[in-house]
Subunit: 421 residues, 2 copies
Amino acid sequence: MKEVNACIITIGDELLIGQTIDTNSAFIAQELNKIGIWVKRRVAIGDNKEEILNTLTEASKENEVIIITGGLGPTADDITKPTLCEYFHSKITIDEGALQNVKDIFSKLNKPLTGRNLKQAEVPDNCTVLPNLRGTAPGMWFEKDNVFYVSLPGVPNEMKGLMQNSVAPKLKDSLELPAVVHRTLLTSGIGESTIADVLEDFERDLPGHIKLAYLPSYGMVRLRLTGRGSDKEMVDQEVSVQFEKMKPLVAEWMVADSDISLQQAVSNLLKKLGKTVATAESCTGGYIAHLITSKAGSSAIFNGSIVSYSNKVKENVLGVKEETIRNFGAVSEQTVKEMVQGVLSCIDSDYALATSGIMGPDGGSVEKPVGMVWIAVGNKNNVKAAQYKFRYDRTRNIEMTAQAALTMLRGFILEQETLKD
Amino acid sequence: MKEVNACIITIGDELLIGQTIDTNSAFIAQELNKIGIWVKRRVAIGDNKEEILNTLTEASKENEVIIITGGLGPTADDITKPTLCEYFHSKITIDEGALQNVKDIFSKLNKPLTGRNLKQAEVPDNCTVLPNLRGTAPGMWFEKDNVFYVSLPGVPNEMKGLMQNSVAPKLKDSLELPAVVHRTLLTSGIGESTIADVLEDFERDLPGHIKLAYLPSYGMVRLRLTGRGSDKEMVDQEVSVQFEKMKPLVAEWMVADSDISLQQAVSNLLKKLGKTVATAESCTGGYIAHLITSKAGSSAIFNGSIVSYSNKVKENVLGVKEETIRNFGAVSEQTVKEMVQGVLSCIDSDYALATSGIMGPDGGSVEKPVGMVWIAVGNKNNVKAAQYKFRYDRTRNIEMTAQAALTMLRGFILEQETLKD
């Protein structure tokens, strides 16, 4: 079966000066992959007519599907729509459905409707309009010389709705697609090189249509097997066989055997056990609580957190002894252990974790340099602490601390639950 | 003066299946812009030799600078280095400096050094090696037919160090560069269309070498003026004149007159006043505390947060009355007001904010649908609350709630400080 290739084109000067991080392309790529379309290339270009026209022409030579986002807003720097008209030799017309949608949105928001807003209902006359239920700019679907072109608004939430509800189903109906199967597992606490040594023979012996990729990030490495073929069920089975072969080889470091985050793996474990966790966060400043609560359903396993950024909060709310901080410092084994005990008594929970460290760029000393962190995990009977030294910038140090704390917590929970048996 | 154009090429299958969000390109684009290099295009391609070779050839036709990231890791799917050797007709050689760097890193980490790690010191013999102080893969600088090519590791922290310490200075030395000046201001609480109407005349009257861009995100709109020219000082002055003309037109909604985030604007305001803030977070789950503490120096204005995800924590830690929750619910004006009072008494602070809402996708009802949020802000004398209705997915609802709460807090602080005068 012939591979169906796609190109994702994102439009907007903000992408080229680096003011905006492009999250749309990753989402679109995921959705296309799910239905067996291979993204061959992602291109970001500016709000420039010639660039847009050239990129469309170029992309149409190598791809059957072209997804375009951005530049559909109501302001003067948004030139995607007139440029598409030129490319497809279209005239502008008002789409009645899109017009009604704009009117409905503004009446719901109780905001005055301007001429600029009404222009959002203008579309090229030779496109199929894809209704946007989340915003004013509709999606537009074109066909030209056996290539499908889809133009979507750049607002992530609107693009996502259109992609899932209209574009993916319509592409599935319009194309004969091969099967692509991904299986991913997550490891923690082992480097990419070491894991590659462990998997050297396994990787060499993989059949040609199944590939292994290493995706490292923040102390974690994801291992992804990707298989392709014409028969979905067969590829699925072949990838599964290889995946089950790989799992025992990395069992020691495996945190999850699916493509989920570490916090999701910890949440799933707690849910399975019917247990809860609380966090006492100094240097992570609420980031771990945020990671846990960013997933729906977290209230079943999470009651709350004390973000004790100042020493006073550590003492007054968490009950860390004043002399502990005086004698050992806020970044110490003793302090994080008392933080765990403190948060367990103020927030009723089965497990707790605590973090305290120097995230930088300032605040370090010779004995306690930037990047030094103490983490404790525990329950009512038992508290464990460990020291870490990270050597990155503030953002990454916070991220690394959160991942290390969740990994430690997961290990502690598994240990405690085994002890019980 | 001739414009110097650049193309950023990111390599890795993980970008094409959407498993990784590319943050490197935005950073590189920012750094290039700062020194007057215009990024014309960003391209993401897979770990595929032919694709890499074609993209390099194609990019070299239109750009004087090509920055490549990714694919330099020690595993089999990383093929950038051999492909660069083919493109530049190089032989592989060991770089002694890079080798020493690999050895130093592993001895510091106290980890065993494998042959795979040592391979990181291999470089094409006709490149200039750019030392990587943060990791094992060095940067590589090539020149061919008046085009500069730079290959950098994909690990963001390593790429950033190389970009700032080696690549940007070396490009400045090697090219005659035009001046590019950006000035940005941040607005909150007004839509892109409305602001575009307000600025219609201003935008039309801008000189040709200065452009206005609208960058909307999460209830905020950034307005960016970009000027270009040969004389840095002159462009700077011209952009400043226009920027000062624009400011009074949007004064009502302006939160900051520089390219900073809302949380940074709130932090700066508190720092200027010598005041502190605490947060009591239910639906935002620690996210606001995280936003505030993600910037260095936040301990001067932030003592801590109570993440009261469960009602018990609202009652036991924050002292919200049990009957308040019973009579009005956790998502109510009364509850968030008591949360503000509660957090002010448990965490000594001048100001506080509280959030409680239904972020979705589940948990909504007819009276309290998904997206409904109550936010309160206050100090010891005065507490104000407001209801919001967001209509997005969980992630965006959390983000919108945080932005709304910080905007409300900022307004409240300004009001209180004016009352005092």
